[in-house]
Amino acid sequence: MTAFAVPTSWIFWAQEQAVELDRGLAVRWGLWLVVGFLAVFPGIVAYMVLLERKAAARFQDRIGPNRVGPLGLLQPIADALKLLTKEDLVPRGADALVHLAAPVLVIVSAFLMLAVIPFAVGMAPVDLPSGVLYLIAASSLSPLGVFLAGWSSRNKYSLLGAMRAVAQLVSYEIPQVLSVIPIVLWGGGLSLVAIFDKQADYGWFIASPPGLLAFLILLVASIAELNRAPFDIPEAESEIVAGFHTEYSGMRFSLFFLAEYLSVFAVGCLATALFLGGGMPIPFARFPLNLLDGSLARLVVVDLILLAVFAAKVFSFVLLMIWIRATLLRLRVDRLMNFAWKYLTPLAIVNILVAGIWYECVIRPGALTLGRWLGGTLVTGPMVAGLVWLAFWVNRREWAGEAAGPGRPSLEGARPDWETPGQTGASPQRAH
């Protein structure tokens, strides 16, 4: 059929020069898919859940799960078996297809995020030229899944939780994305491998005033993106049962659970790769990389060091998140939205410009020296401190201006989230 032959030969001129899928590549991909994505990452996530339960228990002066296996180490397996034998429920009136598709979408989003993380030298599943952008695009799929979950359940708590969740997710996605831009600027490209190499030359990106601010913005925005305390209004169990996944039970619920922890892991990897120098153990040294001499044995040793350090960093990041969750209280919804739009977004925007100044001071002149680093810190440090102070000052003033007492915004005019036809009356059209 020439009708097909014509456009396809046009579209696939690019394919002509694509490298043949040789056996080595196929084996590598197979290993990544089967061992990495289907075994190791879910395993890590299962034990992260146990870690969180144990750590949260310690924070509350309890012991935590310790019955299944030694020290409770078999608990994840028991949990998985229990969830597998739970009844698979779809509520009456739900949109069954969308109800099934929503958790799948959330899982896909979490999995796709992990595909570009450079864990060690030559140990990124793929190295895309637009890696950072790809990562953000992959993570932006999950709000849609959350919304669909809440909508398709046909439950008021679900829908309300989903609407709140999506409003929160999209609000915090802006500062999250903006806080990554300084890294792209300093890394000179969107590839995560290139960013890793740049950090080997110029120190971890967190070790600069704008980098530190960007990291803090990313941390806060990520916690909000993951719906974890103190940003867990979408799942506020004292108000709206379980939010968007109220109607999910058994295996379907566990998919959301798994996706949440998979995302925590992915965000930990992201923060490590972008800000904390990947697997580098010392901030301003090329330490394990300078051992490389092209031989395979050296490469294996270096990669093992890098992997261990990477894992340690991700582990600390996850512990930090658990600590925050165990310590802080839930925010009120208006303050939550305020914080995204009135603190984080303006700060992140101006921080990009400060990052440009840092680039001119430190990275453009050439190799990193102590003098350049100090100079850059002296120039940008006060700027960053001033910015943060300004943001808090402006918001304080606003609070004081509009509230009855200082620091208390008035709740006058507060209305419910949805428009009720006929506010008084309280006459539902049909009572059961």
């Binding site: 097909f4 032959a5 014509v6 396809t8 030969s9 046009w10 579209i11 696939f12 001129w13 690019a14 394919q15 002509e16 020069q17 949109d95 969308v98 598709a101 895309l128 030229p129 637009s130 952008l133 790809y134 953000i136 695009a137 992959a138 932006s140 799929l141 709000p143 849609l144 919304f147 669909l148 909508w151 609407m163 999506v166 999209v170 996605e173 490209g189 969107l190 005019g413 209305r415 428009e419 036809p421 006929g422 506010q423 008084t424 009356g425 059209q429 049909r430 059961h432």
Partner: protein, 210 residues
């Protein structure tokens, strides 16, 4: 291999486009539309425009579809009762008009003569590459295709500065416009919302309750 991929992606895209149009339920239609956006991103990747593909997913699947959903939640009649479809008498002329538009577009595309070639698009068997010389591995165009993000940035900052700044202005205008419109609506609902019920509760209950 590539041809099969293209056919699969195009098939999925067509299916989701059709279900966007045919779906009775607004949210389902929007989901299909998001799926269609995603297949467009896949086509971009087949054209080696991965930067565009990532932007497509970020903006359209990640942002615009959320906007659509929130827009739908603002309206009544989400459950897709037969509110949208017109009288069936209008269906036949509609189909005819659609086919005619399709035929005109198809004709125009196939008869279009490019700037570089003397032949019409439909008469050619082999397409020239979009950027000439981009097939050779080491050529500047090749590296431009591989680092599209960088190249787009440099071009935006040098050749298309004015357009870039205008785009910023346009975005601001969009923001200000949205705020202005929303602000007015807020005032209206605020003034009517407090006090006696302004409107009679509409009979939204289309579904019989068992």
């Amino acid at each position: 291999m590539a041809r099969i991929l293209f056919l699969v992606i195009a098939g999925v895209g067509l299916t989701s486009a059709l279900s966007t149009v045919l779906s009775r339920n607004l949210v389902r239609a929007a989901v299909s539309l998001a799926g269609f956006f995603f297949t467009v991103a896949c086509l971009f990747i087949l054209l080696e425009a991965e930067f565009l593909a990532a932007l497509q997913v970020l903006i359209y699947v990640g942002a615009v579809s959320i906007l659509l959903m929130f827009g739908i939640m603002l309206t009544r009649g989400v459950q897709g009762t037969d509110l949208v479809s017109g009288p069936s008498a209008a269906r036949l002329p509609g189909i005819v008009v659609g086919l005619v538009v399709f035929a005109v577009l198809g004709y125009a595309i196939f008869e279009e003569k490019g700037l570089r070639t003397q032949y019409s698009w439909g008469a050619l068997d082999e397409r020239t590459a979009i950027a000439r010389g981009s097939k050779e591995p080491g050529s500047p165009l090749r590296s431009a295709v591989n680092n599209m993000g960088k190249v787009v940035g440099v071009e935006l900052m040098t050749r298309y500065v004015i357009a870039f700044e205008l785009a910023g202005l346009l975005l601001t205008a969009a923001l200000v416009g949205a705020v202005a419109v929303a602000h007015r609506e807020e005032d209206e609902t605020r003034s009517t919302g407090s006090g006696v019920p302004p409107e009679k509760p509409e009979p939204t209950a289309d579904k019989p309750n068992p």
